[in-house]
Subunit: 305 residues, 2 copies
């Protein structure tokens, strides 16, 4: 009978030993070693069929890829180094094995690309829709903490790429900005940073709140992704860029970066767009065509009643 | 609008700072510090409505308790010290907030009892049934690794309590054997260990396979829990004890423990029942009323086709 244990055996055969993971899949817990002097980073994301992807319309490899990538993006937002991933899933009872293999291929390929071991997890089947949870363990690099709470008045606000329209396809294929974060940590006086999951209009507020500051965004400076229809009016395109979500670009604050450093970063494939400034007065405003008004939240917040 | 962020705020207010968790809920990843010289332990378990509990019949506090306890049990099986938990959930859209608060109370109470910080997670809502995933981070104690692969021919096989009948209620209220594991690690030459989730008949095979050994169980020595109906025949009661699952007792192998140490352990509330022996010949047999035959697997394996 092909069952849970047979699937786990198959997965074990695909995974490689790693110095950071002396004991991986197959015991009650995995054993991990982190670099002495570094702190541990832990992040977790749950993705559900119908909410973050549609099994009926999406290759399982892309779903697996996304489940790993959203967690890699969180480690990037801490300027960290990812080490090991733990994958739990609730598989639909019918067709679950083939689905699991496709998901795993996507997870594994993404993991390998970023030097991550898949070191454990939990396999279940049920009559419900696919649910997949990834917990990613990483470590700091040179003991550096890059938090949301370190924005300071006078900082510029930057994003690492154009925004909006991700849900047409890019949310499945985006590049987690680990390399960009590493370069930024080395070359820029990074203050606060996060990765954009709900959209600037929503996510920026996490930094403002944690840092007890406010912000002014300049509409004309917001880079709008080509995935946003060029047929829309400029204000509508900006609204998409600010609220569509799932961009998974980094948003960070720092003292203004010199043109020389911006060019160096661009040569390293890290495009930084300044989109506004941090101020001491609370709140968040948008300057659009010479007018300044409150920035609508717009970014979707999951409704829970 | 009471939504995701309001729920997360409420959760943050309940959680306490901990020296092991300098940055917990509220950033892209949590920052953790483990004791220098120890290795990291990571385990994860996903529980789904209808499979591991029924929301319609169970207090949310007990569901939350179980979600934390099954992970604590895995850290116990490594003789480790639990540190920080990460909770992801897919909440039903209707009534999700009240459910989440009940779940959290159960999670949090169990976490506090064992010195664990709830340091992060992921909150989602959807139209599907409740899914809750907990990842628990722990560390080794005095650098000691207690794995499934260390059983040796001649070892006795022990369990830390009576087995069977857990699904009537005990699976929601069991005590994870962290303290017992700690005492055993100090007083016994522990070889292999795991926690019983699918039942001895299934779980013992993980040790046999990882250690490349076989085993003989003695039916008369299997401690049968009072949750198993006393009206059943003795062989049926033993079958329940071996295959019901969700006992969450420790099963371990070690050279025979002296009566003096067994009494010491009992004084520390660690009851050890010898249920058989490890042998070099592969396979697993059950000796029942003078006869020895192959042990049926019996423990349920989730079917995935």
């Amino acid at each position: 009978m092909p069952g849970e244990f047979s699937l786990i055996d198959w997965i074990r055969q695909q995974t490689l030993a790693s110095p950071a993971v002396p004991v991986g899949i197959g015991d009650d817990a995995a054993l991990l070693m982190i670099t002495p002097g570094e702190e541990l980073l832990v992040t977790t994301d749950m993705l559900m069929d119908g909410r973050h992807f549609r099994v009926s319309e999406t290759a399982p490899e892309l779903i697996g890829r996304k489940a790993m990538a959203v967690n890699l993006s969180d480690i990037a937002a801490m300027a960290g180094r990812p080490l090991a991933a733990f994958v739990s899933w609730a598989l639909p009872r019918s067709g679950g094995r083939a689905l699991a293999e496709g998901l795993f291929h996507g997870l594994h390929q993404m993991a390998q690309e970023y030097g991550v071991s898949i070191a454990g997890g939990d396999t279940n089947s049920w009559d419900g829709p696919l649910v997949i949870n990834v917990t990613l363990i990483g470590e700091t690099v040179q003991g550096r903490r890059v938090l949301r709470s370190a924005a300071q008045p006078g900082d510029q606000i930057y994003v690492t790429g154009p925004l909006g329209g991700s849900l047409t396809h890019r949310h499945l294929t985006f590049t987690p900005r680990l390399q960009a974060a590493r370069e930024l940590a080395q070359r820029v006086d990074l203050h606060a940073m996060l990765d954009l999951s709900d959209g600037v209009a929503s996510d920026l507020r996490h930094i403002l709140r944690a840092s007890d500051v406010g912000a002014t965004l300049i509409a004309e400076q917001i880079p709008v992704h080509s995935d946003v229809s060029p047929k829309l009016t400029a204000p509508l395109r900006i609204q998409h860029a600010l609220t569509d979500g799932e961009d998974f670009e980094l948003l960070f604050t720092a003292p203004a970066i010199s043109p020389e450093v911006l060019i160096q970063l661009r040569d390293l494939s890290v495009d930084c767009y300044s989109i506004g400034t941090i101020r001491s007065a609370p709140g968040c405003t948008l300057r659009l065509g010479g007018q300044e008004g409150p920035l609508p939240v717009g970014g979707w917040e999951h409704s829970i009643d």
